[in-house]
């Protein structure tokens, strides 16, 4: 079982060329077996089940294309066989394969099928299945669900005799906490993973834990400890004969020293990383390492060497034809030449970057993240337009500052691109998340201030004037000698307008929220509901205690959004909202007794917004819904 557990970790890539060729050969022979199977039926010596077990033991991202071929051939046989063990194995392997292919939707439907056939499987298999499921959710950035599956896996793992799966599961759980920025929890689980893998002499999981602990301590700005863990990781990876991973750790150490401001030491680590990479013959990584070297030399004031290395990286990256990497490189080169005041070249590379950038983004699906990127781009463009009108000196300063940030970011991504190991995939995702979160935060803060101002002006100034006008009209009406329908209708319009202004202002930013906090604001929101429409109850132990403004506003918007959803779609009679402060977290639970969420419906948009808001608050969000059994939105945020 140990072998399989090692293979669980989608993130881990063992790099061993000898092993690779022998595995592929084995896969090829399996393929022949399958062809025989289709021709001759079950008379083969090897049963279908043991054949699938063979495939499973060979499962690894490196043999993606071979796996794909095998699976397409074996699928019709499994379909015919009507044997639950084979079906289980097939769908499990298939979902793993689809995960390698980044086709998460299909992976998810495949794993659902595997669940249907899992009843005969032992606890170790159940752990495996849940880890795969959790990993799919992780890639879909549905961290709450991922965590749930991993914790489920933990339950089953505890039931196994040897418990060899424990460090793997702990490592997976820690990743979720890492991406959710819950550093203390991540640390807690990583330490467990490290300790147990040490006892069980599971070097792979031990090295994973060590590498991630290094990231934890980098995050905590405890650089000495981070370094210690990187060195430990390097030691373990050397034992595992995993040079790519060793090089990754060295490069990250370089980054660490750059953060500490010791550029000399940073350079020495980057050089070490690049030397190791050269021995692997992995061209993409080598090309990339020139870029990291260039940057490190640049930091040490050696501009000429930096330029040579950048260009070397450029020519090799071009040869490789990886457009993603090429685009990043163009970006960095443009930046580099700009810093050298060589604006012509800077512009050239900027243009090349744009061409590639546009064609690449056009190919990608428009996911939530890229929508944000568009926002970011527009914001950047707006900033640029603004800057044009400002003085040139100020101009340069702002650009320089902005570029530095972007460069840091893209360098970070650069260093990461080298590695197949978990930490770096994770790091990349976290940078994206961080960027995304910073953006949302920035947008949300300006929005909040602006909304507050507009809401107050509307409410007081315009609302007040309208109110007064109405009172004056009332006086005028009384002084009329005969009743006037025109006066009546004018008054009615005025009343409606006053109401509308109140409503708009309230939607923008309720005065109750600003003045009295979340509980009062939710109470007011429910007060304005039509009682015949829905019976709403709100419970909170929060009282008048205030939360941070960001939390109050986001949680209020979540309630508003959820309420809209319930009123529009749920056909519910009762609504229960609870906001409770527990020891370490705040729970917001919104429960209705309506018809449940219909998949792929309009409600999705509102839920997506809620999910983003919860992410902004670093919280966990789960939706429970069953037909005619209502819907529960469960949100937990740290306090």
């Amino acid at each position: 079982m140990r072998n399989q557990i090692i293979l669980f970790s989608v993130f881990l890539i063992t790099f061993n060329i000898l092993k690779l060729t022998s595995q592929i050969r084995k896969l090829d022979s399996l393929e022949k077996l399958i062809v025989n199977y289709s021709n001759n039926g079950i008379e083969e010596e090897l049963s279908l089940e043991s054949l699938l077990k063979e495939i499973k033991s060979l499962m690894d991202r490196q043999y993606k294309s071979e796996l794909g071929r095998l699976l397409s051939k074996v699928e019709p046989i499994v379909d015919d066989a009507n044997d639950s063990n084979s079906n289980y194995l097939f769908h499990l392997i298939n979902s793993r394969f689809l995960l390698y292919e980044h086709d998460y939707i299909k992976a998810e439907s495949s794993i659902q099928k595997a669940y249907k056939f899992e009843s005969n499987q032992d606890n170790e298999e159940k752990v495996f299945l849940r880890i795969t499921d959790g990993t799919i959710k992780y890639y879909k950035a549905d961290y709450a669900k991922a965590l749930e599956h991993f914790i489920d896996a933990l339950d089953y793992c505890e039931k196994t005799k040897e418990k060899t799966c424990l460090p793997g599961v702990y490592n997976q759980i820690s990743i979720i906490y890492l991406v959710m920025f819950n550093i203390p929890k991540a640390e807690e689980y990583l330490k467990k993973a490290y300790e147990i893998s040490d006892n069980q002499e599971n070097i792979k999981e031990k090295s994973r834990a060590a590498g991630n602990l290094a990231i934890v301590f980098t995050e905590k700005k405890e650089f000495d400890k981070a370094e210690k863990w990187y060195l430990e990781d390097i030691k373990l990876d050397t034992k595992l004969n995993n040079p790519l991973s060793v090089a990754g750790s060295y490069s990250n150490l370089g980054k660490l020293y750059e953060l500490k401001g010791d550029f000399k030491k940073s350079l020495s680590y980057v050089i070490k990383s690049s030397e190791i990479l050269k021995t692997t013959g992995d061209k993409a990584s080598i090309a990339h390492s020139y870029q990291n070297l260039a940057w490190a030399h640049f930091k040490n004031g050696n501009v000429n060497k930096a330029e040579i290395l950048f260009l070397k990286s450029l020519s090799e990256t071009k040869d490789l034809g990886n457009r993603d990497k090429l685009r990043d490189l163009y970006f960095n080169l443009s930046d580099f030449y700009e810093s050298q005041k060589n604006f012509k070249k800077a512009l050239d590379f900027q243009k090349k970057y744009s061409v590639l950038h546009d064609s690449l983004t056009g190919e990608k699906q428009l996911t939530a993240i890229s929508e944000l990127e568009i926002k970011y781009e527009t914001q950047k463009k707006e900033n640029e337009l603004l800057k044009l009108s400002k003085q040139k000196q100020e101009d340069e300063l702002v650009i320089a500052r902005q570029n530095r940030r972007v460069r840091q970011l893209s360098f970070g991504l650069g260093a990461i691109a080298l590695f197949g190991v978990l930490g770096f995939v994770l790091f990349r995702q976290r940078l994206q998340n961080k960027k995304q979160q910073e953006l949302i935060l920035a947008i949300s803060e300006t929005q909040t201030e602006e909304r507050k101002r507009i809401a107050q002006d509307l409410h007081d100034s315009i609302g007040g004037s309208l109110a007064l006008t109405k009172s004056k009209f009332e006086v005028a009406k009384k002084n009329l000698k005969a009743p006037s329908t025109e006066m009546d209708s004018a008054l009615e319009t005025l009343e409606q307008t006053t109401q509308q202004v109140r409503q708009i202002s309230h939607n923008l930013m309720p005065g109750e929220l600003v003045r009295f906090g979340l509980v009062a604001a939710i109470n007011t929101l429910l007060e304005n509901l039509n009682e015949e429409e829905i019976n709403a109850q709100f419970h909170s132990n929060q009282g008048e205690e205030r939360l941070e403004p960001l939390k109050e506003i986001q949680l209020y918007r979540i309630v508003q959004e959820a309420l809209q959803n319930v009123l529009k779609h749920a056909r519910a009679n009762n609504l229960f909202i609870q906001l409770n402060k527990h020891q370490e977290h705040l729970t917001l639970m919104i429960e209705d007794d309506g018809k449940g969420i219909v998949q792929d419906s309009e409600e999705g948009m509102g839920l997506k917004n809620i999910k983003q808001r919860v992410q902004l608050l670093k919280g966990i969000f789960t939706i429970d819904s069953a037909p005619e059994r209502g819907t529960i939105l469960n949100i937990q945020i740290p306090v």
């Binding site: 309208l466 007064l468 109750e512 109470n523 007060e527 109850q537 639970m589 789960t622 429970d624 469960n634």
Partner: protein, 206 residues
């Protein structure tokens, strides 16, 4: 004759109200303040019978005025005249020391009634406002009551099911069941599941 001071940061509104109240012989407008500080300054030297007070004003707002007057033990009655209309608001201005409350778009005659009543009996709140506040207090009394779903969870806890089993039985995620459990304990002021079982048995739920 009731003497009235008007405090509102919108000049147009101040003047409009002054003009409207000018129609009544029993009222006398003794001054106008453009913000909270001005109102407090005026009230240091004079004691009008009634202050018509807006809440949203720059720098020193209506709440600060209310609290300062309460501290000063000012005899002036305060009728809050605002665009805000929610029980949260009304409850808060009352605890800050307001004697009465009226929406800004109220009828001229109601405004007169309000000023007279605040002056004579020391308080005025429109019937619909009282209704609203009472309703919200009633709602607060319902707090601590468990929802139907929570009751389902309680019953299954009493039966001895684990979180996971409850989750499966109710088609919920474990995470949600756990949140339910925590909310229930909090609302019923119980320490743990054992106490919850005792509570449920005592209530005759199981």
């Amino acid at each position: 004759m009731i003497s009235v001071l008007i405090a509102d940061d919108h000049q147009l509104f101040r003047q409009g109200i002054a003009a409207m109240l000018g129609d009544f012989d029993q009222l006398e407008i003794v001054g106008q303040a453009a913000n909270g500080q001005e109102a407090l300054d005026i009230l240091e030297n004079t004691t009008p019978d009634v202050l018509l007070l807006d809440i949203e004003m720059p720098e020193v707002d209506g709440f600060t005025v209310l609290k300062t007057l309460k501290k000063r033990k000012s005899p002036t009655k305060v009728l809050v005249l605002t665009m805000h209309h929610s029980s949260a608001f009304v409850q808060n201005i009352v605890s800050a020391g307001a004697d009465g409350y009226l929406k800004k778009d109220s009828d001229q005659n109601i405004l007169l009634t309000a000023i007279e009543q605040v002056n004579a009996s020391g308080s005025y709140f429109p019937p619909e406002t009282t209704q609203m506040v009472l309703q919200s207090l009633r709602e607060k009394n319902k707090q601590g009551v468990v929802t139907p779903r929570e009751k389902e969870v309680i019953l299954l806890i009493v039966e001895g099911l684990t979180t996971k089993e409850i989750a499966e039985r109710l088609f919920l995620s474990k995470h949600t069941v756990e949140s339910h459990r925590q909310n229930i304990l909090l609302k019923l002021e119980l320490k743990n599941s054992a106490e919850l079982v005792k509570y449920a048995l005592k209530k005759g739920w199981a």
